[in-house]
Symmetry: C2
Subunit: 368 residues, 2 copies
């Protein structure tokens, strides 16, 4: 087991990463203030992992809320059912919520913990690679609104994160790859040595080798934790974590939510960021090609779907911009392993990158 500490002053917390952790009582106990524990999970994850978690919590007053599975249920309505259950069981302010599942369960349960009696403790037990490397660090909790993703939420840090790599054994291949997109993102943002390691160890990760997974998850969480510790409320550097995401959100929206996985869209987004960075003279064609090869090696897409023309992509990216207000800013790459946020780029260069990433030309012809 590997343990990282997320340094946030009084809100600091540990992330435990390893095999078979979710059944270990001693990982929960130090963080349970009172006797009442509510496990929030979903219909898919519950049948697989609810029992061992309940066993680990033996001796406590444990209740369970099972949510429907899927991003489309990340709503205020589903969220509010958790309060019905907490109040029916007369849960006190010293209770603890345990979020057992992927990113959606973590987001809803975390947001419920943020608001129940103005804030109670929660423990994250992420069961997907994406949730282990992304949602479990940083304290962002939320639900969606019909008019926009994650529009209603709170910053609320967990008391502890228990990332059990055993749970990844039951993860579908496509979701494993989608999680690897976020892992790769951390390397691109600020760790070229980690990129080298990923290049050599991608086959082991795809084989779900526990040791390789623990290393990759640990390094990812460490990088995210460093960035979040510098900027908990996202006023500056934390925006770097959005590498590939402005493009990615446009793809998800353009293709209809649920058609592309978030990680798949981010993968193409990183390729687009690399391409535009090359046009600004920051990356060489060889580096862009290396980035694409690495992403493809994780069985992830690197090109825009045909439906999304450059003009359509610009439109879709403007939705994000209008909802959030202000000017379009992108996260680009100064080099492989160093991301920067910039509002300075030429619209034509952006259009050209969108076009070439669509037409599937090869990298070496690109800047000729």
């Amino acid at each position: 087991m590997k343990t990282l500490q997320v340094a946030l002053g009084a809100r600091s917390y540990p992330i435990h990463i390893g095999s078979g952790l979710l059944m270990r009582p001693e990982l929960y106990r130090p963080y349970l203030q009172g006797r009442q524990v509510m496990i929030v999970t979903n219909e898919t994850v519950g049948p697989l992992y609810l029992e061992p978690v309940q066993k680990a919590l033996q001796g406590f007053e444990v209740h369970t809320t099972v949510l429907p599975d899927g991003e489309s249920y990340k709503t205020l309505e589903v969220w509010s059912r958790i309060f019905d259950d907490l109040l029916a069981a007369r849960f006190a302010r010293d209770c603890t919520l345990v979020a057992l599942g992927g990113g959606v369960v973590g987001d809803i349960a975390g947001f419920a913990a943020a608001c129940y009696q103005r804030g109670v403790d929660f423990i994250q037990v992420p069961t997907t690679l994406l949730a282990q490397v992304d949602s479990s660090v940083g304290g962002k909790t939320s639900v969606n609104h019909p008019a926009g993703k994650n529009m209603i939420g709170a910053f609320h840090q967990p008391r502890a994160v228990i990332a059990d790599t055993e749970t990844l054994k039951t993860l579908p291949d496509r979701e494993l790859s989608a999680g690897l997109a976020e892992v790769l993102k951390y390397g691109f943002i600020r760790d070229s040595a980690f990129l080298d390691w990923l290049e050599s160890n991608m086959p082991r990760l795809l084989d779900r080798d526990p040791e390789a997974l623990v290393y990759a998850i640990g390094r990812s969480c460490q990088i995210k934790a460093e960035i979040v510790a510098e900027d908990e409320r996202e006023s500056g550097n934390r925006a770097l974590l959005n590498l590939g995401h402005t493009f990615g959100h446009a793809i998800e929206l353009g293709m209809g939510y649920g058609s592309w996985l978030h990680g798949e869209a981010v993968a193409v987004g990183i390729c687009l960021a690399a391409s535009l960075s090359a046009r600004l003279g920051w990356l060489t064609a060889v580096e862009v090609e290396r980035a694409e090869r690495l992403i493809a090696s994780a069985r992830l897409p690197t090109y825009l779907p045909k439906e999304l023309t450059p003009e359509r992509m610009l439109e879709l990216m403007a939705v994000d911009k209008k909802v959030l207000g202000g000017q379009l800013r992108l996260v680009l790459l100064r080099r492989l392993g160093e991301a920067v946020v910039t509002g300075t780029f030429f619209q034509d260069a952006l259009l050209a990158s969108l076009a070439e990433q669509q037409m599937q030309v090869t990298a070496d012809k690109r800047l000729a």
Copy 2:
């Protein structure tokens, strides 16, 4: 105009108190980060004060949400409509909400500000005495759940509070008195000199003399601000602010919400706390009588309604206790001007105090 500062580090904010303040643009401007402002008000307050506030915000992109009036609308459902309006108007993260109304509007709008895009700014413009001396300080925001009051919410501090004493001119007499119950509470908790002042100036306050109101509101906010600064998240001393409230909640619940005003129930609650404190030997009979006289002088009740027998009160107080978990703790008075939280008292003494406060015996016969 009097200005107090609530000292909460990076979340510090000013409370401006005076006559004609809500129409002064310079009190809003320093706290408006972006151009978008959403005024949240209700059907009763809107027609009276919306126009001058809109005028003060001229030059900004101002939208308005009008909520139905009353505690029964302090629900998740009404709260969520604010997000519909914010998103329909494409409000960005640098927008500001202005809560124009009493405690209910402040609680709902504040909680919406806490959660919109994980937290945006808000300014409180409280228009009732209760809201000016109570809800505008401390950052508690919430909505009710059918199973309990204020069960869902967040701690979210306003950027500024603008307490305009002009708005109290349109306040019904009964609500003015209910607000004075909370003003008196601050004196009982920790300021005997303020109690002396209130004893001499009660007629001026009931006449809505602006100068007397500014002083009483200012001193109340100052005491609350000191206590909140010591204990922002209510782990210790902040519980003192609940003087009279455990009894008060039981009365409100027992009589049916809306039948007694919150301040009226708190007034009787303070009398009960004084009576029980006398039984513990902390107050003299003369002091209890003085407390009751002072409360009665604000045209507030000092006795329990006949329906609420001692046994029924105990039952009702246990509901609060069960919902919140743990043991019944009460805020009592060491002396007039010094409250303490205690879990140590005899059940029989409590029953006796409940009985005598119901039977309307006079204070001098009480401890014979």
